[in-house]
Amino acid sequence: MFEYAPAPESRAIVDLRPSYGLFIDGEFVDGEDLHKTINPATEEVLAEVTWAGEADVDRAVRAARTAYEQVWGPMPGRDRAKYLFRIARLVQERSRELAVLESLDNGKPIRESRDVDLPLVAAHFFYYAGWADKLPYAGFGPDPKPLGVAAQVIPWNFPLLMLAWKIAPALAAGNTVVLKPAETTPLTALLFAEICQQADLPAGVVNIVTGAGDTGRALVEHPGVDKVAFTGSTEVGKAIARAVAGTRKKLTLELGGKAANIVYDDAPIDQAVEGIVNGIFFNQGHVCCAGSRLLVQESVAGEVLESLKRRMARLRVGDPLDKNTDVGAINSADQLARIRELSDAGSAEGAQRWSPPCELPERGFWFAPTIFTGVTQAHRVAREEIFGPVLSVLTFRTPAEAVEKANNTPYGLSAGIWTDKGSRILWTADRLRAGVVWANTFNKFDPTSPFGGYKESGYGREGGRHGLEGYLNV
């Protein structure tokens, strides 16, 4: 292992208040139900945030309704666009501050929040800003209308990026929003609220209510919302689908995954190994589209695994703020417990577990990059979403078997294909029941590119022209 001197990013750029209220109707409102949010890498308390109750959620929804009816709805698209462009610029200007805060609150490596999350956040607002005055050309009829008030509930794995995926298309289409960030990662959303103030975004257009499951439930079930957008677990997604049944609320869901990453025998092995590593260890595997099932053609399985293990031994696990870190902290104690439970089940069910020698910090929540070989389709580690840095390796002999195994899951969010043969890529891509297929690459995202799943990975698409559809009355 090469030795690197520590290269920590300074956290001085982040000026945290000791305590945060809710962002309702353009103002921060103090609440009573305060909860600590911690840095998962150190367990140090970062700040206190308010968990919104039903009355708070109701106030936020009413503020959003008023803003929709009186300000944002009647506003010409070209002016809505300008606010979104302002937000995109402010995100770019304050991107380092946001990136450091994201890594502090989430545990993800600064290299990732700085180089992936924040550029995509700004790009997303910039992309949808341009749609705000072009909706009649989006292919949804000559005069598409917004829905009204959007209730948006987002996860902790890409806190600010998921906020951007939700808020940018909603506002571009002319809706107002009430957004609930995850309880373990509320801070960048609250900083985003400050950015809305800085942009002079009219009060009530964006409301941020922090809290946990009860806050989310109150928001989703509020009779005053016209649209529900949720990113998170399939289990909660189903509960939300039941909750909106029989209402007028339009629903889009972006849920779990158990993506197959298929490596054919003619794949460029070194590139494929980089793709496998990126597929499962990017963001500590806290990625719904993670390539968590490696399907490798039997004839090259030995070579691929040997190379993969060599590469894994070079992964640097540790301080998220260190610019050399590849794999950061697990987001919470609960998530760590879940990863441990499923990994233990993998061993108990007979799969072989391997991790590189890897020193983990004493404080905080950590899990070494792990692979399971000898996995069968019946094993829990092959069926359940682990949402951590744990890869299950299965083998196949024929392309038909690869497709069969890849599709043998209730999920259908993403998939990967590695081969040098173009016709085999297209043949395989046609047969995979997944919303995003990465061929000879993995985990690429772009605001113009629709993202979302088949089957129990949810419905609706985020990103691109398709992403507008969920926020328009079509």
Binding site: A245, L255, A429, V437, A439, T441, T448, P450, E469
Partner: protein, 274 residues
């Protein structure tokens, strides 16, 4: 000289390209005829038939699917008088024929209108294309019995889905007769399956069925039942088309939503390089 005694028709279900009676052996008297009263088992059999047909139909070329839908229009046009004799207004039959023609043309155009290249910020080829979601369960509206039925079947199948449709319980004869049209239009067996009988018997089974990918509640007039069906559909996150408003005018432009709700968008990335 005695008058010729007419040969009466037995109205049966349409499952897997065949015309079976209900496995339950039951029928009900409606429109002066005995019509099969489909059971939950019939609904499950229909899903099996629809699933078996799904791969071939989704894999057929768009050109082929368009030709077959156009052929349905031809066959329906030829049986115009038969539907009129069943009490379907002539202008409704005409509108139903035209609707098949309209949807036939979408088979090879929707992927162009609804998908396409995405200009991502990097050296990647990136293409989004719609694909069928799979097996669709649909409830045809009570009226208009023929145009309403065609308006839920055609948008589901033109893109490559297969469908199990519950016909209007009060006016099922047009549905069974439409099945005869479909059976003579080169439509592969199982692409469209038609159940007659009580919605309360077949539709909850379809809504809860784990091998059904989407449910079209268009014809469910009872709001409480519609909500219950939507709850059942959440178990495997079926795509849901909610009930049409009671005053919906079926003669207007149907738009794309009936098709797009039953589609998945697949986006494929590939690096560019030498």
């Amino acid at each position: 000289m005695s008058e010729r005694v007419a040969v009466r028709k037995t109205y049966k279900l349409f499952i897997g390209g065949k015309f079976p009676r209900s496995e339950s052996g039951r029928s009900y008297l409606v429109q002066d005829s005995n019509v099969s009263l489909a059971s939950r088992k019939d609904a499950r059999d229909a899903v099996v038939a629809a699933r078996a047909a799904a791969k071939g139909w989704a894999g057929a070329t768009a050109y082929n699917r368009g030709q077959i839908l156009y052929r349905v229009a031809e066959m329906l046009e030829g049986r115009r008088e038969q539907f009129v004799a069943l009490g379907v207004p002539a202008d409704e039959v005409d509108a139903a024929v035209d609707r098949w023609v309209w949807y036939a043309g979408w088979s090879d155009k929707l992927p162009q209108v609804y998908g396409g290249a995405n200009p991502v910020a990097g050296p990647y080829f990136n293409l989004s294309a719609p694909e069928p979601t799979g097996v669709v369960a649909a409830v045809a509206p009570e009226t208009p019995a023929l145009l309403g039925l065609v308006s839920v079947i055609a948008p589901a199948i033109v893109t490559g889905n297969t469908v199990v449709v519950a016909a209007s319980p009060a006016a099922p004869l047009a549905a069974v007769t439409l099945a005869e049209v479909l059976a003579t239009s080169d439509l592969p067996g199982g692409v469209v399956n038609i159940l007659t009988g009580r919605l309360s018997e077949t539709v909850p089974t379809l809504a809860a069925h784990m091998d059904v990918n989407a449910i079209d509640l268009t014809g469910v007039a009872d709001a409480e039942l519609a909500a219950e069906l939507e709850v059942r559909a959440a178990e495997n996150l079926k795509r849901v088309l909610r009930p049409a408003p009671a005053d919906h005018d079926w003669h207007t432009d149907p738009g794309l939503t009936r098709m797009t709700t039953l589609l998945e968008t697949k986006t494929v990335w590939h690096p560019k390089g030498t």
